[in-house]
């Protein structure tokens, strides 16, 4: 029978279709269940109904299906526990930063847990992933994918993306 570490090794090689990070470093995998030759993966979507999900599920089925001893692969999307940016590993954070994508610090508060308040247009607390300067401005709370916002660094004059805190 195939062993769980072997499954994880393969999952580690599957990149997110929209970001330079593996799906394991992104914290998407919540559970791996193996019974005989059947593998059941429990996966947490980042954003509800993210359009990359079908592609990720297909890739998982294909890659795990290639392991000898694996006959069938099932991918289940679950919402409990919730995916959060806190689940991104340090290796994942480093990889994203290298490509100019900032990630909220682990454990920082989530907007939904506060009273509704206004977004501050100047957000000095967010360091630029290129030069670490805190002189950054939120340009658009919405970005190229549903999970990211767009910022601009006033120090190195570069735009960068940041994952939304959920």
């Amino acid at each position: 029978m195939v062993a769980t570490p072997e499954i994880f090794d393969v999952l580690q090689t599957i990149p997110d279709p929209e970001m330079p990070i593996s799906i394991t470093d992104l914290g998407l995998i919540e559970g791996v269940e193996i019974s005989d030759s059947a593998v059941h993966i429990k996966l947490l979507p980042t954003f509800i109904g993210c359009f990359a999900l079908p592609a990720i599920a297909e890739e998982i089925k294909q890659k795990l299906g290639e392991i000898s001893g694996v006959e069938s692969v099932e991918v289940e999307f679950i919402y409990e526990p919730h995916w959060s940016t806190d689940r991104i590993t340090n290796a994942g954070r480093a990889s994203l930063a290298k490509h100019g994508i900032a990630v909220p610090e682990s454990g920082s508060p989530c907007p939904s847990h506060h009273e509704i308040e206004t977004v501050e247009l100047t957000t000095p607390a967010i360091p630029c992933p290129w030069c670490n300067s805190h002189k950054t401005t939120l340009k658009s709370p919405f970005g190229p994918t549903r999970c990211k916002s767009i910022y601009f660094c006033n120090e190195c004059r570069q735009p960068f993306e940041r994952m939304k805190k959920v």
Partner: protein
């Protein structure tokens, strides 16, 4: 609690349709702005909001599917006009007037956030879990529209006046968001949903907080009469529905 007594199926599906249909049509309307919003950031934002809303609607149709086994696409696109449960404000034609789009978004976003917050306290776990998760994304919508209300309210006399006109225009249809869905009382009494008091009052407090200092005012009356939540829709809704159903009714079995 993961099991749901059969007697709660119909009323709960009705409440879920209200949420899902609101999201589907608001998303559809917001997608009208893709490519033509006044500034690039607004274009990206409204396209992103539309994607969020339609994804949220889809998740709620899936949840309905888990109760009654109906195909989610069929639920979304295959019903007659009077079987849709959205409040008509979500489908109002904004005539490509940006102030109208912002006013509609403001009324709906705050309502959706507060209602989802309450649904996340449901005792039926699959609903609580989904609503709680969507709330985290909905908070971003509310933050965003709050910023717009401040920008336009505190902008120029012209921007303030235009937005105020739009807020007044949609005030009557905003009140119909609060029309009670059929059977909701049985869900409160049966302990499936928690009755946390008047949603309209909570909404008023919240919108007043956001508008405080912007110089904008709203006057939305309590809901009276029968409207979209009970299947009685206006011409704008009928038009939006025919747009949405165009592909589906051409070939209902097409693969998407």
């Amino acid at each position: 609690m993961n099991e749901l007594d059969q007697k709660f199926h119909d009323p709960l599906i009705n409440v879920l349709l209200c949420v899902a249909d609101d999201k589907l049509f608001l998303g559809h309307r917001n997608s009208d702005w893709t490519g033509i919003a006044p500034i690039l950031e607004a274009d990206i934002a409204f396209s992103s909001l539309a994607q969020d809303d339609i994804a949220h609607a889809s998740a709620f149709y899936e949840l309905i599917h888990s109760i009654n086994g109906q195909n989610p696409d069929q639920i979304a696109f295959g019903r007659n006009t009077d079987a849709y449960r959205c409040a008509d404000i979500v489908a109002q034609d904004d005539e490509f007037n940006w102030a109208n789009a912002i006013a509609r978004q403001f009324y709906c976003n705050v309502y959706q956030y507060l209602w989802l917050q309450r649904l996340s306290n449901a005792t039926w776990a699959p609903l609580a879990s989904l609503a709680n998760r969507i709330c985290a994304e909905q908070a971003i919508h509310v933050d965003h529209i709050t910023t717009w209300m401040e920008h336009l309210g505190k902008g120029t006399e012209d921007s303030k006046e235009r937005l105020q006109t739009a807020l007044d225009l949609y005030a009557p249809s905003a009140s119909m968001m609060f029309e009670a869905p059929e059977g909701i009382t049985s869900l409160f009494e049966g302990g499936i949903l928690i009755n946390e008091g008047c949603l309209f009052t909570a909404w008023n407090v919240c919108v007043d907080n956001i508008l405080d200092g912007t110089g904008l005012t709203i006057a939305v009356a309590p809901c009276t009469g029968i409207g979209g939540r009970n299947g009685k829709h206006d011409a704008d809704f009928a038009h939006a529905l025919s747009e949405l159903q165009e592909v589906f009714s051409t070939d209902p079995l097409a693969a998407w």
